[in-house]
Symmetry: D2
Amino acid sequence: MSSQYGKKIKISIFGQSHSPAIGVSIDGLSAGIKIDTDELRAFLKRRAPGQSDISTARTEDDMPEILSGLAGGVTCGAPLAIIIRNEDARSADYRELRDIPRPSHADYAAHVKYGGHQDVAGGGHFSGRLTAPLCAAGGICLQILRGLGIHVGAHVLRIGGAEDDRFDPVNISAVDFDTIRENPLSVLRREAGESMRQQILEAREKGDSVGGVVECAAVGLPAGLGDPIFDGIENRIAGIVFGIPGAKGIEFGSGFAGGERMGSENNDSFFMDGKNIKTRTNNSGGILGGITNGMPVLFRVAFKPTPSIALEQDSVSLSRGENAVLKVKGRHDPCIVPRAVPCVEAAAAITLYDAYLDR
Amino acid sequence: MSSQYGKKIKISIFGQSHSPAIGVSIDGLSAGIKIDTDELRAFLKRRAPGQSDISTARTEDDMPEILSGLAGGVTCGAPLAIIIRNEDARSADYRELRDIPRPSHADYAAHVKYGGHQDVAGGGHFSGRLTAPLCAAGGICLQILRGLGIHVGAHVLRIGGAEDDRFDPVNISAVDFDTIRENPLSVLRREAGESMRQQILEAREKGDSVGGVVECAAVGLPAGLGDPIFDGIENRIAGIVFGIPGAKGIEFGSGFAGGERMGSENNDSFFMDGKNIKTRTNNSGGILGGITNGMPVLFRVAFKPTPSIALEQDSVSLSRGENAVLKVKGRHDPCIVPRAVPCVEAAAAITLYDAYLDR
Amino acid sequence: MSSQYGKKIKISIFGQSHSPAIGVSIDGLSAGIKIDTDELRAFLKRRAPGQSDISTARTEDDMPEILSGLAGGVTCGAPLAIIIRNEDARSADYRELRDIPRPSHADYAAHVKYGGHQDVAGGGHFSGRLTAPLCAAGGICLQILRGLGIHVGAHVLRIGGAEDDRFDPVNISAVDFDTIRENPLSVLRREAGESMRQQILEAREKGDSVGGVVECAAVGLPAGLGDPIFDGIENRIAGIVFGIPGAKGIEFGSGFAGGERMGSENNDSFFMDGKNIKTRTNNSGGILGGITNGMPVLFRVAFKPTPSIALEQDSVSLSRGENAVLKVKGRHDPCIVPRAVPCVEAAAAITLYDAYLDR
Amino acid sequence: MSSQYGKKIKISIFGQSHSPAIGVSIDGLSAGIKIDTDELRAFLKRRAPGQSDISTARTEDDMPEILSGLAGGVTCGAPLAIIIRNEDARSADYRELRDIPRPSHADYAAHVKYGGHQDVAGGGHFSGRLTAPLCAAGGICLQILRGLGIHVGAHVLRIGGAEDDRFDPVNISAVDFDTIRENPLSVLRREAGESMRQQILEAREKGDSVGGVVECAAVGLPAGLGDPIFDGIENRIAGIVFGIPGAKGIEFGSGFAGGERMGSENNDSFFMDGKNIKTRTNNSGGILGGITNGMPVLFRVAFKPTPSIALEQDSVSLSRGENAVLKVKGRHDPCIVPRAVPCVEAAAAITLYDAYLDR
């Protein structure tokens, strides 16, 4: 069991990088919600490969086909299933990897787990391509949340040494999310995107890759979502975010920086804003005791540099049991962080809609 | 639903800070395992309050009573239930908090969620005291893992500005864990503990508190544990670790630092160590594609400073709907990080034993 | 994993027949509900042993102790944990059973599953005694449901050859449930109870036991509870009812008799009863497509005769691998059916409250 | 949440009767198992409509397309997803049903649950057509079980008044299952099938339908599968079997008949059969305390007569809130019991393989 998530809604992801199709079943959506398929397609496009000089050369239309769950364009209570066909798969590129695992990729761990039967082509079920169905599910949740007045947005905060502005933890607004969607590379500050682009191009030139950080926020959430202990919003968001390949860290609110502070600095004082209770700062990232407090939910996710690089690397031959040198073929992103932005939004949207239904 | 965790084993935590007892039911333990109750008590003692000048003055024996799950001192396949009585509860200290929520504590979020019916006394179900049953479950899993040759240990990496040595990601050994358990404040380097102690005492003197970071490792794990996408070891560990009050961030291996690196720096090359496949570095924290690769599992958890501080703070009166000033009474830790160390070990042990059974 | 049930509420049962205590944690109850502990005790008494000449001689007070989940007598949102101490345990009676399994009891299956480490005394975790915590959880759900205008009741429909009247499927009312609770042996028709009592006494005289059927109904349920396919009300009720030791069959509405009918006989016609939609018959047992239709939910559960009988029986010696003769000692009910009545009510109440919260 | 089942394997069913496709994702299959797609197609054919004069006139090829989960024809550890296109859908037949619910069909309950947004066409997600993906998942589990020496088979035990021979509870063998598959209507005794056929044809002639009972067995199972209380094999099988539309009762071993017996009649004595422990009778249906005891698992499922009949029936108009008369159009089976046989086999196979993996 591995590819399922959720409580009130349950998403179930399937597919491999080079299988006939990838897809997702989403069980538990409220009935009676109109789904805008054009908008869903536009959202998926933000994640799709082959769109610019800084992403993989693999091109996939990523046209989602909705197989079920709608009646007259409206959710009908039945699971909504979406598939996306894999078109531009070149499995031949991956043959060597069955024997020589790529450093820091899932190849070796999967080989042990599945006794050598894992689908090696394109990374199989471990491929970043599996974030397309995640985004399909998330894209639908984003639409539904918007109808509830809840907006989720993310931006690239850092790529290598280049850094964007941070969200203002207290005053994040849906307008910021629009700005990000207009800017190349999904940043708040256009020039930050330009520096990041340089970092990526340099990495690619060297046959290397580069990591980064995505920052995500949700506004408009009511207080009281989430549950104590193991079902807090932090647990749930982390539980889905680490399903995005390459995610290696997550922090909420002041996060790791909060670990260096005094309570008097880090505590968020309450005050009355008219009839509403708010906090003056938002070091808690909108979550206290696992439960939303009505302030923006705010978190950051660290992504490691893509492990698939063109440079020669040391590895081993599984069949011969000896050291070996690997030169990865195939088409790869020098930096997955910009394409991870909609994935993080999707993950947050799924969690928050699920918590909303479960309130 | 909130206080349950696990797949093959299911732990179910109950209790409030001032309820008659707190406890845990652990369902799914293998049958036929001898449980050493003295060792369990010793482990719980590492978390228990009232043990030194740097923790809360509340004293609790925290003597666990095993109600079921054993036959002749050996696990019998039935759920193992443990309770710990609450003895030294002074509920009167908490009356004011029903109206004036403590900044950065769960009071307000819980008030909204439970319509004012939450147990305010001592933080109720949100109290750090609920980590005692977590540690009871974890202490049992630690014993079982050790019998399988798997060792889990954690140390305080940072408190405020004071920092301990890091684990050597490749060569962590169970001997390090013994060192930590002998050193005050659970550190690798004794002097680091002394600086941390100073930071905590200073915080307490000011009526303030201070945050920190715990680093945790597991050695002896076979490769192949965990599942792809939503059931990776990272997802699962994060899913339980955020159940420890105050945890606001987690990173695996190089984590956030990896987000600033190039792939060529961050990738972990494979090599043959005799007949074993190992990696020369361990920036992956022992997990690739959600699955263990046989290297030490390594992660760090950020804890915010305790929100309960003695200093006056701004808050609101829920009944009057106006701003109010709060001065928290009750007995509180100026720093929970040292007491969080066994909690993080417990969380990791539960997850890893669960993943082991689920392999 | 074995002893947990539920979606929105999760009950987690622990204990063995002769362990220090048995108990249950109930996670997910709505906050703000007053629990009447006297009523809970009275409900548990209906299940408790040692109350008449037709049940086991083991006497247990079965006084429930609520360890958590309440604040001021009212549910506070935290898991409600209840334990019941085991007092009158005579483990010596069970020694022989470690080697010679009782026919039609769980002894042998448990021996294989747990490698001989199962708790043999009193049937361990498989004992009917574990229905006490089930009833504790169910008793609380029954109280809550009543506050919602939903009433659940069961009666003994048959013991051996003696049969009670059936519920009128369309016109069941809470008044019927009161009648049952006043009549000895939990029957609708007093004289039916007298015949049943005779059957039980005869069985006991012979050192034998006798089986029977319990019929259960719930009235006042709104239409629309339950989910299609695997989460229908039938699936859920069956999923908990087979947790009562001895249950071997369940049927909803016309059940097995419906399998001999024509559609025109078995279909329940709709009609307007004022502004309400009702059906003229209720062969569906109030459930269509897994979802309640507003008519009374109605089902019957078959219980096998208690396997522990005083007569000599053929069995095997596990240690010697040869045939053996067994004469069961210990104190046993000649018929568990009357004591199963509150268990079935409890199971139905837990399911229906869970489905109500999950609507 | 509704359409998911399982513990170690998780099946997730999607689709509506007239949606573009129906399908299933099966997560958790062991890696390295060759799937015989011809055999899978042949198994699905046993369930498919339009094959004889006694089933619906709707014709569907029901050709399964495997979208993922295989690499080189062998399971690779990733979820195996299968879809089946809906070809011969005539939605126009169903328009009236949006207003006038069919007696004893899910129409009204679904209308309430989904606020009128349910997919009415062909019964939507509640259609018997959704058993095609159940059979696809079950067909794969049947193949895998056979490789483990475990065989599952079912037959029509009764249709209306016509009855087949029962399985011999102790000596069921895989040969019986072959016999059944060769006989028309899936019976043990050919002539029983002929009487059943007569009953079905008579029902159809009258514009009526008829119910029945399916008996199912599994042989070759090791002792020790299943868990106590809520995760027993009975709970699990019932939890999936009630997902088959029309199932209204289930009994294991002697079931309801056992409720009329004495313990001395119903108990299954153990004896040594060479080195194996067996029971002389099998009134327990191979399950004790929820756990297999090594004897054949044996159960029976009651199916109500198809609610869609051609005769005029009383119903109500939801829009007008008044009584109405309904004459169902569309193409329907006069008896679903023969087509339910592979569904019951599929349900049992999924459960037993899941329990096998979870042992």
